[in-house]
Structures are given as structure tokens and as C-alpha cells.
Symmetry: C2
Subunit: 155 residues, 2 copies
DNA sequence: GAGGAATAGTTAGCAGAGGTAATGACTTAT
DNA sequence: ATAAGTCATTACCTCTGCTAACTATTCCTC
């Protein structure tokens, strides 16, 4: 289903600079909500938890504070997420080598397996939808993804 | 702080098809979280509530069900959001002309003013960050925004 | 036209995930 | 040695989504 021809579509509005922020925000929020609903059903971990596992897989063992900064949440939120992952057995905590205040979080073998398995069947909802796009549209998104991430990291 | 040079960055990973879904998801989730934090402080309405006002401003009066479909939430969620907007005086409800089951939601004058004011000072956090991008990057996002929105609408 | 099925909205209750404030443990600096 | 700062945690609250159940209305079938 497409929009009616006589009403302002996202495409038209986003052509102006004033509308870009608004439309980008709408698209991001809606897509994120959709992603939360459409995640693979046989994965009992939430999107946030999988995100943390992904960061650990990409960057290696990190402290709770570093994880919080990477995911742009406050430390208490990351403590809770990490504790969930601890209960599910996907990460382990160990004391920092030189600083007794910090706690280092690292992937367990199970967590590593889960990341690999998740990547292997990541072609679920989003990847399927991506396949329905034109190559040009995929190319746009491939360029846009890192920009979105950089925007989230700014300041 | 930026990533170390010897580890896989978002840019590198997203070059492969297998990684695009993952990186797009991460970027979308982080940016959305950031947007929720960085919204303009003198606006007491949430992002969702402003989103609904924006839809009403763009598409005119809609029923609760149409709003729920547009924002990709379930009807009860939209009922609550609309009731919040009703309390704040930004929308009004009226019965549907021909179907007694439906409830039509329309912007009040205050709501219209709020949308205009919000657009006028929308150049807050995101727009400022957008300005810090290169023209090429902005062009990419301008193309990407409608694609993201279409992805969220799929199926 | 009467009765059952379908649809729109709401109410009630629950869960996830975020935040702030306050606390405890440890480190650093004076 | 002590004061100040930092990291993680705990306690508590809010927001926003969901499903299930309920009401009111409309549509369909006989």
C-alpha cells in the first residue's frame, strides 16, 4: 500500500531542510518500534541485550561504564542489562585488574555462540525487508547506517 | 572518544550485506534513544505525543484506529496517547459522522500552534547535529529518511 | 427486522526499559 | 591521613508498549 497522491508524503516533506530532522526522527522512531516487535521469536533476549552482546563481540571485554557510554544509557540501566545477561549465562563479570571500583564484562562461550547464531539468522524481518528494496535504496541505507550511529554518538 | 583504529568500525561492518541489518538496527536504536533524551526542554510533550500531533497536522483529522496504524502501535496505546493530548488541550475528540463506533481526533488551535512552534524551533539537537554533517551526508539522510519510514510501514 | 458476527474504542493489568537520587567501595590528590 | 572524586549498584519512579477482556455499534444473514 502506498500513500495517496494528493497528500504530503514523507518524501516530499523531507526534501526541505526544515523537515529533515522531523522526518528522520519519525522514521527512526517508527522503525525502532517495528524492530522491537518483529524480532526473531526464538530469541529470548531483548534487542538491548543483543545489542550489548554485539558490542562486546566487536570491541572485546568492557567495563559497565564503557558499555553504558557505548549504548548511550546511564550506568544503572547498563548494570541491570548486564545482570540479565549474567543470569542467562551470556556474559561473565570479573574484577578490573588494577582498579577495584570497576567491573569488567566479557562474553561467555554461550554468549559468543549466541552472537554467531544471531548473525547467521539475522536475515529475519529487517533483512527480508531490505531485500525487497532496490539496490539503490540498499546502497543509501548502507551509507546512512554509519551516519545515524555517528549522530547518536555526537557530543 | 573515538574507536581505536584496529577494530571493526560501523562503517567497515556495514559494507557487507550480512551486517547491514545489524548496523542499521544499532544506529536506529541508539539514535532514537538519543532523540528521546535530547528533545527540547521547554516542551512538556513526549516524542510520541508530538509525533501524533505531527501526523494530525499532515493528514488532518483521523480516527484513533487510523492514528494507531499510522504510528504502528496497538489501539489501546493510541487511546492513552490521545487522552494525554486531550488533557493537555492539544486535540479534540468528536464522534464520527456516520459510524458511531469510531472517534475522530483533530488538532485544537493550541495543538496547531504547538506544531508550528515545534517546527520553528525544531532545529534543536538533531538539526544542529545535521548541520555538522557534510552536505553529502545530509543528502544521504534525506534519501534515507523516507526509506526508513517505508521499512517501518512494510507488511 | 431480529439475532449473531465483526469492528472500534476503551479499560485493566502487566512488563520492559529508561531515568534520577542516594549509597558503598575504591582511588586519587592534597 | 583525609578529603574529594569515580565506578558500580540499589531503590524507586515514569513512560510506553503489549494482551485480554469488555462495551457499543455496525454489518450480515436469515
Amino acid at each position: 500500500m502506498t500513500y495517496a497522491n494528493d497528500m504530503p508524503t514523507v518524501e516530499k516533506v523531507a526534501r526541505t531542510d526544515a523537515g529533515l530532522a522531523a522526518e528522520l526522527r519519525l522514521g527512526v522512531m517508527r522503525l525502532r518500534r517495528r524492530l522491537a516487535v518483529e524480532r526473531h521469536p526464538d530469541n529470548e533476549l531483548s534487542l538491548n541485550q543483543m545489542g550489548v552482546l554485539g558490542v562486546l563481540a566487536r570491541r572485546g571485554a568492557l567495563t559497565v561504564g564503557e558499555l553504558a557510554a557505548a549504548e548511550k544509557v546511564q550506568p544503572p540501566s547498563m548494570t541491570r542489562t548486564v545482570n540479565c545477561l549474567l543470569e542467562s549465562g551470556d556474559v561473565a563479570k570479573r574484577p578490573h585488574a588494577t582498579d577495584g571500583r570497576q567491573v569488567v564484562v566479557e562474553l561467555s562461550e554461550q554468549g559468543r555462540q549466541r552472537v554467531l547464531a544471531d548473525r547467521a539468522r539475522r536475515d529475519a524481518w529487517l533483512a527480508q525487508r531490505l531485500r525487497e528494496l532496490t539496490p539503490q535504496e540498499r546502497a543509501v541505507l548502507r551509507q546512512a547506517a554509519p551516519i545515524l550511529d555517528r549522530l547518536a554518538q555526537k557530543d
